[in-house]
Structures are given as structure tokens and as C-alpha cells.
Amino acid sequence: MKQTADRLLAGGFVATLFLLSLTFFLLPAGKFSELENRYLQSAPHFTWDDLISKNFANETESYVTDHFPYRADWIWSKSFMEQLRLQQENNGIYNGKDGYLFEKFAEPDYLAVEHYADAVNNFAQKHPDANMTFMLVPTSIGMYPERLPWKAPFYPESDVNDFVADRTQAGNLTFMDGFDILRPHASESIYYRTDHHWTTRGAYYAYVAYAEKMGWKPLGENDFAITDVSDTFLGSYHTRGQFSGVKPDTIQSFVPKNAVHTEAYVADTDSKLDGLYDDSFLQKKDQYSYFLGGVHALMTLKSDLAHADLDKLLIVKDSYAHSFIPFLTQHVKEIHVIDVRYYNGSIGDYMKENGIKEALLLFNTATFVGNGEITKLSN
């Protein structure tokens, strides 16, 4: 009997190794992973230089792991085991209450935050003839710490927002704290449960607050046709955390009943978008790119408004702005949108060249503290 067991173990082990190895070679190698939303490592090419620099070894290792047979099933099974052992987080994502997933937010490096806030403040001081607004919006973990798993540690994003508010006091700069805007609506669906963005509704409340600050008359909810465009949205938190039993989110669009025509031009690719929304993304993994067709370094939106509240506005932003910007097309003739991560020119020069006197900086707190790109403002 002992021998039978030995035979099964030895045989089973060797067979598993060879079978998986064979499957790996036989299965066609995919190019793109929907699950991970990225291109997979392509087959490595051997060169002596790559061998010496370990490039070849690294690429081969990535190739093997990227194309490992039944990759998604293995990943699911790991996440399942983690939940079995009462672990409340996976790959940096908390499995919170009421179906909410959250990204961990730790105490940021305040020296860096100071640096970033100063970059914003100095930018305003360097352009005294322009009016600027800096809106810093918490992410869902900042708004709903009570929905975290029991006793889970978190750092309050409001502390970061207060710190940044104190350091951005230039005369022509107004700081708008996302907490003040969104807290009254905390009980509504203002954040996606499975994604790191705010919902269109969250963005709508921010638009109302911004319009009031600018002295415009914001559109009421009744002025929009609100429709659910997707109820299958599993966002970035879900992708990272891979928790089972997560309910997908709904994506809404707020289309004004009195729609205006907007021409959206993407400078990166020198192309025009068909509209403010790209339906094709609703069939893909990355459904949030429905808004404005995803990330662009520089785009301009020109709207046919009979009576515009403002001629030109520059928005320097992260992707929170994507669902927010469509609201502004009701008020501003020309909106220039710059994503600091991808735009490498001088933003100050861009304002001068285009005669822009009004700017909005819109970021979420996690992006703002976790990313040095904002210092490009000083270029």
C-alpha cells in the first residue's frame, strides 16, 4: 500500500509538471488580458546583451507567468483561500461592508504632500491675472471609513485635505474641499462600490458646488435625462481584490434635456470624438472610459452656447474629471483639459498662448498624494 501511495505521488507530481508545461506550450499565447487590462509579455528574443543584463531572464519569467495556463482560475482560487482564512484584504483592497470595496489609504509622506501643495500654490501666484480653483475630492475610503471591515486601520483623508487647504492660500486661488461638497450626500450612491471613481451623481454634486462658486446657475436634476447605461461595471477595486460575490455597479449618464452640441478634439491623436461618451467601452473591462473616451493628455471641448457663462476654462485633472466635465459644457464655450501625467509641455505657457484666465484643478486625494506629476505645474 505504501508503494501504491508512493507511486501515485511520484507519478502524479511528475505528470502534473509535464502536463502543465505541455499545456503552456500548446495553448495559443494571448496578447491582451481583459482581466488585467494590459498587454501581456511577448515571447522573449534571445540576444547575448539581454542575457548578460538579465533582461532575457526577466522577460522569460514574465512570459511564463503571463501565459500560465488557466491563470484567471488560479487567481480566483487564491482569493477564495484568502477569504476562507478571514483575511479582509487582498492585493491592497479591503472587502468592506454593504458591497463596498476600498483601496487602502495609509498616512502619506507629508514632506511630499507639502511639496505638491506648494506646486499648486506657486502656480497660482505665478499667474496673478488668472482665477484658479483647486478641488480636492476624497476617494471612497475617505468618505466611508465606517464601511471598512471591522477595526481595519485607515488614515483619514480629511487630515490630508485640511493640510493641503492650509498651504494653498494664494489670493487668486480658491480651495474647494470635496468633503464639504459630498458629505451632505454621503447616503446616496456617490461612489462606485467596485471602482476608485465617483459616480456621475457624485460628479453632479461637485458640478453644482463649482457652478455656485463661479456664480453660474447650475442645472437641477430635473433638467437631465438620467439613464442607466451599464449595470455590469466591475471596476478597478474588483480587478485588484478579486473577491467573490461582488455585485457589479451601475453607470449612469446625465444627459441635459436641452443638449448643446460639443465638439471634442483630442490633441494627442489629432482626432475628433463623436461625443462626450464612448459607448464602445461599456462592452469592455474598463467601462469608466465611457466618459470622454478615457485618458488623453490634452483635449479641447467647444460647445455651441448662445449665452456662455465663461469663454475659456483650463482643467488640470485626474480621471475624476471625466464624468464631471460634461456638466460644464452647459456653461463654458471652450474647455481645455490637461492630464498632467501625460502632458509634458509648460501649462503656464499653454494658458498664455490660449488666453485662458480661469483654471480648475480637480484631483482626488489618493492621486494627489501618491503622484509627483503635479509638480509639473512648475515647468
Binding site: K2, K54, A152
Partner: protein, 466 residues
């Protein structure tokens, strides 16, 4: 390449097994030697030269030692040269920058750093090849005349990068004469899977807890969190290292080698003396056989013995890494061992069993604090947190969260440290149920381990920041 990678498991290992089985007996060592070189070159395409230098030198020195033309004085010089070459290589790569930094600090000079990366496994293979020369010099081993066998001994991939440190004596006969039986192979698979699970499921996961806690400012840790953290580190380092040793021993068995055990339930120790008989046994034996005993051991009076213990433990400390905390760590254990020899063990013998466990565990954990932080102020900060001297409460929300989210893992870790190290050898296994349960258990562990390995490479691209 590490054993706990998909590339090793599903490409390298099957390829080597196939080559090994297909080659005739007299070529098997050559296959092992060449595949081991490939294994090493994969991670160190350049530094493989250093390993080859060390191998060729010691092979030649071994031949010279066995040549009757050389008298006692010459033989002595040969051993000294071998030690100089090996320790020279080791010191240059491992300790040069440490020396330079300290000399610069002390004398205000500004000698530039070498900034060399430490070649993988250098601490292991230099020790292994030195043991060969010393054994041949002492006459306890015969010089190896076949360069392929010798190359296979030094480069043997199962134990090349992280031990166990195999002394030449144990392997000399097996290099010439070994046979893989079904029983041995199956035992090897079992050991390998258990080692893999220890590393991937236990060490890596509890390592995440230590990573979170050690990344937090020690001034803000509650007492319970600090203890949880260092317990997590203790488990991480044990299951990482002993898992690697298990995998090495298992792979060895698959190719017909029997290495010595490297760990024997170290956390069941009842004194520090006991602990060091159970922890990294191959390193302890090496220092005992090649340093402590040659220095006179305990045979030349208590004074000399004290000196010898301190030398061995300072060396053990810096073997683990070139920085002051490791030296301090070695010295710390040296002092405790001296205390135990002097009177401690006699006192402990009178204490109840649980007191002995608590005594040993607390000292081991404090030792890990010294080991874990290479900046001494952080060691101090962490110790303060453990003993509540940082003004924080006994426990807080953080310790509760870390506690309940890891409670199942901790139970598994404790169980595994007590029960799950040395497998009973063949004669203990009997009964059909037992064999089949064992089989199922191995299969489950293997598949779960692979799913964690695949997940470790899970790398979703998210428009996360923008």
C-alpha cells in the same frame, strides 16, 4: 531562479528530470553539473565566473593536497591559500562596503564604495568548498579526482543558493554511488511540496503582516501589535528558510542525494543552547567543526572556551550580513550561550517546562528584533514598543484587526512549527488510509501553492492614478 517560481517548477524542473533520466549513469553527474550551472547563470550570468574560480581553485588545491610530493608545510600553505581565496572573494563582495563605510566614518576619509551586488549563494558555496579542502587536509576525505563530480558537488542546484551547507564528507560517496528508488523519489516529492507550501503559503502570507507592522512608525505601535509583528517575522524567517531547506532536501532526494537536516522544530526549544541545535543546523555544524573545535573548543579551560564561543558567534552574526546589527545579534546569542553554560541551564532544569519555553521564546524574539532592522535606532524603537515604553496602550484597533484577520494563519503556523518539520522516515508510514490521506494532503498543498504563485504575478493595469 528560485524554486518557488512557475518557471522553475514547470519548465526547469521537468527539463532537468527528463535529461537526468534519459542520460546514462556515467553522464548523470555531468547533467547535474551543467544544469546547475544553467540554474545559477540564469540569476547571475556574470558572477558565475566567481563560482567557477572558487571551484577550479579548490579542485586544484585538492589534487595538490593528495599529491605525496607535498610535505606538511606545503600542505598547510595550500589550505591557507584556499581559505584566503574563498574568504577573500566572500569578503570582497560581502564586507568591503561595510568596512569602507566604517573606515570613512571613523577616519573621515572618503574612500569610494565598490557598490557591488552580492553574488547569489556566495556565502554558501564558499563555505562548502572550504569544507572540502579542510576535510582533505585532515584526511577525513579523499581528494576528488574527477572535475565533473567536484563541480557537481559545489554547484549542485538544489542546495546551491540557500543551503543546507553540505559538507563534502556527507556527499563524497553519494557522488559516486547513488540510486533513486521509488520510495526516495516519492519522499523527495513530499518534502519538496511541504517546503513549497511553507514558503509560499505560510512564510509569504505572514510576511505581509510583518511588512505592514514594520512599515509603521514604531512610536505608534501598541504593545500587542509590536509582539504580533515580531512573532510574524519569526514565523516568516523560519518558514521561508526551512521551506527552502525542505525543497532542497526534497530535490536532492529526487536525484538520489541525502542531505542532512537543517532544522528541527526550532521554536520548540527550551533554551537558547537547545535552539541553536535546532536552527540552521548545517551552519552551526560548520562553525563547530571548522572554527570552534580547531580553536580548542571547550578543552582548554573556561577562559579559552569563552573566547572561542564569542569568536564563533560574532562570525555567525556577520555571516548573516554585513552590518552592525548582525554582529550584535551574534554577540547577543554568544553571551546568552555563555550564561547558559555557566549556570543558566542548571537553573532552567529546575523550572517547569512552560517557563523554559517562555524564556527561550522571548529571547529568540528579542534576537529577531536585532536581526530584522539594520539600523540600530530602529531596533531600540521597536524594543520600546514591545515593552510599552513608547507610551502606547497594551492593544488598540490595529492589533485587533491584524489579530483576527490572521488568526487562522497563526494557528496553522503554530501547528506547523510544532508538528510539521521532520517527516517520519519510511518505516513509520503504514496503513493504506494514512498513505492516501498523505497523498491527498500533498496534492491540495501543491495546488493551493501554485495558485498563490500565480497570484503573486497578478499585475492588473488600472487607470488607477489618472
Amino acid at each position: 531562479m528560485v524554486f518557488s517560481s512557475l518557471l522553475f517548477l514547470f519548465l526547469f524542473l521537468p527539463a532537468v528530470l527528463l535529461l537526468y533520466w534519459l542520460s546514462p549513469r556515467r553522464l548523470k553527474n555531468l547533467v547535474l553539473f551543467l544544469t546547475s550551472l544553467a540554474f545559477y547563470a540564469w540569476g547571475e550570468p556574470v558572477y558565475i565566473v566567481i563560482m567557477l574560480i572558487s571551484t577550479v581553485t579548490d579542485f586544484s588545491f585538492g589534487l595538490m593536497l593528495s599529491n605525496p610530493r607535498f610535505g606538511q608545510t606545503s600542505r598547510r600553505w595550500i589550505v591557507v591559500s584556499s581559505v584566503i581565496v574563498n574568504l577573500g572573494l566572500l569578503s570582497y563582495f560581502k564586507y568591503a562596503d561595510f568596512l569602507i563605510v566604517n573606515v570613512n566614518d571613523l577616519l573621515g576619509t572618503s574612500i569610494p564604495l565598490t557598490e557591488l551586488a552580492l553574488p547569489i549563494g556566495i556565502s554558501f558555496y564558499t563555505f562548502q568548498s572550504m569544507s572540502y579542502i579542510i576535510d582533505v587536509y585532515r584526511g577525513t576525505a579523499k581528494a576528488q579526482r574527477n572535475w565533473i563530480d567536484f563541480g557537481a558537488f559545489v554547484a549542485l542546484f538544489p542546495q546551491l543558493v540557500a543551503g543546507p551547507i553540505v559538507q563534502y564528507n556527507t556527499l563524497a560517496e553519494q557522488l559516486r554511488n547513488r540510486k533513486v528508488t521509488l520510495e526516495m523519489f516519492a519522499e523527495g516529492v513530499r518534502r519538496f511540496i511541504i517546503g513549497l507550501a511553507k514558503k509560499v503559503l505560510l512564510a509569504n502570507n505572514i510576511g505581509l503582516l510583518w511588512h505592514s507592522i514594520s512599515g509603521t512608525d514604531a512610536g505608534t505601535l501598541s504593545v500587542l501589535t509590536a509582539w504580533l509583528g515580531i512573532v510574524a517575522f519569526a514565523f516568516q524567517i523560519y518558514f521561508d528558510f526551512s521551506g527552502y531547506s525542505d525543497m532542497a532536501i526534497g530535490l536532492g532526494l529526487m536525484f538520489g542525494f541525502r542531505f542532512n537536516e537543517n532544522f528541527n522544530k526550532p521554536y520548540t526549544a527550551q533554551s537558547i543552547t537547545d535552539f541553536w541545535r535546532r536552527w540552521h543546523i548545517s551552519l552551526g555544524s560548520w562553525f563547530r567543526d571548522y572554527v570552534y573545535i580547531p580553536l580548542g573548543g571547550n578543552r582548554k579551560g573556561f577562559g579559552k572556551q569563552l573566547r572561542n564561543i564569542l569568536i564563533v558567534w560574532i562570525l555567525t552574526g556577520i555571516w548573516h550580513g554585513a552590518s552592525w546589527n548582525f554582529m550584535l545579534w551574534g554577540l547577543y546569542f554568544g553571551v546568552i550561550l555563555i550564561f547558559e553554560k555557566w549556570t543558566g541551564l542548571r537553573l532552567l532544569a529546575k523550572a517547569p517546562r512552560w517557563v523554559r519555553h517562555v524564556y527561550a521564546s522571548v529571547l529568540i524574539l528579542i534576537g529577531w528584533v536585532l536581526f530584522a532592522f539594520d539600523e540600530l535606532p530602529r531596533v531600540g524603537g521597536y524594543l520600546k514598543a514591545m515593552f510599552g515604553l513608547n507610551g502606547r496602550p497594551l492593544w488598540d484597533d490595529q492589533s485587533l484587526y491584524y489579530g483576527y484577520t490572521n488568526v487562522i494563519l497563526l494557528v496553522l503556523l503554530v501547528t506547523a512549527s510544532i508538528a510539521w518539520t521532520r517527516r517520519r522516515s519510511a518505516e513509520g508510514e503504514s496503513g493504506s488510509m494514512r498513505g492516501l490521506l498523505n497523498l491527498a494532503w500533498c496534492a491540495v498543498l501543491f495546488f493551493i501553492s501554485v495558485s498563490y504563485l500565480v497570484d503573486a504575478t497578478f499585475n492588473p493595469f488600472l487607470y488607477f492614478r489618472f
